[in-house]
């Protein structure tokens, strides 16, 4: 293979460009974190909320739909999770939800909760990503469940879906996980404290009040 001066120069430029891009991407991702926090003996990277759109921060909002107090409602289209409180209010959390094709809807119950849970990638995920290990220990910096998992069961049967933390705060507000509902780690810890075992959950394409903003019904199949 004969390399002309031109290709070498171009190739060099391309390499330089790729390196710079990688650095930029790394810097952007890193800034989603700010310092560390300790939870149950595990040190983890604290979310840099200054970097996160205010929209996705935990906040108390008005809530006019009809779900009863204590229910957790997930609006998958708008990437919000609501914990219904009294007087037509709710605590709203920003969430990341399943990519197109992984979306699921229905009623469930939080029947099990765990601290720094071990992560076992589901078989279909390991098929797509053979590089994944059989499991990742709880508390590992590579464990995508983060500090908490709340397991969603339907009539005592595990739906396979969970509320959990994240390694990628930048994915909150986006469709980017395999069906699970991911939250900022600080929010997963907060929600865990507020939801007793037996809490009712509804995962919806969108809440009734947001119907106007959700003209298109999702193609995803309900889990019934």
């Amino acid at each position: 293979m004969v390399l002309t001066r031109r290709t070498i120069v171009l190739g060099g430029l391309a390499l330089l460009g790729a390196g710079a891009l990688q650095k930029q991407a790394a810097a952007a991702a890193a800034s989603y974190f700010d310092g560390t926090a300790i939870d149950n003996g595990v040190t983890f990277r604290a979310t840099n909320f200054a970097r996160i759109d205010r929209k996705w921060h935990r906040q108390v909002v008005k809530y006019f739909s009809s779900e009863p107090i204590g229910t957790v409602v997930v609006d998958t289209r708008h990437h919000f999770l609501y914990l219904i409180m009294e007087n037509k209010t709710a605590i709203r959390y920003g969430v990341g939800v399943g990519r197109e094709g992984f979306k699921w809807f229905g009623r469930a119950t939080i029947d099990r909760k765990s601290l720094w849970p071990r992560w076992t990638p589901p078989p279909e995920m390991r098929k797509r990503h053979p590089e994944l290990p059989e499991f990742v220990e709880g508390g590992s910096a590579k464990n995508p469940l983060g500090p908490r998992a709340m397991y969603l069961l339907r009539d005592g049967v595990d739906t396979g879906y969970r509320f959990h933390g994240t390694l990628e705060p930048g994915s909150i507000g986006k469709d980017a996980s395999s069906g699970c509902i991911r939250m900022f780690n600080e929010d997963a810890i907060d929600l865990y404290q507020r939801c007793p075992i037996g809490t009712a959950v509804q995962v919806l394409p969108h809440i009734a009040d947001q119907a106007g903003n959700a003209a298109q019904v999702s193609e995803a199949t309900p889990v019934e």
């Binding site: 108390v60 007087n87 119950t109 007793p196």
Partner: protein, 178 residues
């Protein structure tokens, strides 16, 4: 937002009148809450008082600490989750020493009305004792059990029951007559 503020005061006055007029058992939230303002506006608007949450405010306590702890059936034992919430409450109360705290216990378990009253009082007392053990001056706190009264939700589903087995920590600026 300024438009909402304009309405708030007359609405509050109106609500208080309505609350006095409609004193019935379905008005469950009123024992835990300041008088409810009939909500106007839209879902996802900031709730009144939560537009700009200040450290040390009641809104800060609700949003960043949490007022409720839960119990398993027939139990007044503080589990590990309840203790974490109480630890957070104690830290907050110790940094904000001007607030008083009323602990309200509730029960919706198996047993007579009298047993439920006892259980709810035990729950409130357990929470108060724990906060005191974490440095919150006992003179700032008082505990009352409400038994089966004032259920959050009145239904037989498990998801209702678990909501009713609780202690709510309410910030107060002065003592009330229980």
């Amino acid at each position: 937002m300024p438009a909402t503020i304009g309405y708030t005061r007359p609405l509050m006055a109106l609500t208080m009148l309505l609350a006095l007029a409609a004193c019935n058992t379905t008005d469950i939230a009123s024992v835990e809450e300041p008088a409810a303002v009939p909500m106007t506006g839209q879902t996802n608007d900031p709730a009144p008082g939560f537009e700009n949450v200040k450290l040390g405010s009641e809104e800060d306590f609700i949003l960043n600490v949490g007022r409720r702890i839960y119990f398993t059936q027939d139990s007044a034992t503080l589990d590990s989750v309840a203790r974490v919430t109480l630890d957070n409450q104690a830290n907050w109360l110790n940094s904000n020493p001007n607030w008083l705290l009323k602990l309200q216990g509730f029960a919706d378990d198996s047993g007579s009305v009298a047993q439920m009253e006892t259980l709810s009082q035990k729950r409130a007392d357990a929470a108060m004792g724990y906060l005191a053990s974490k440095g919150v001056d006992a003179r700032r706190m008082w505990a009352k059990g409400y038994g089966k009264d004032r259920e959050v939700r009145d239904c037989e589903d498990r998801s209702c029951k678990v909501q009713n087995r609780r202690v709510v920590s309410n910030l107060r600026t002065q003592r009330d007559a229980l």
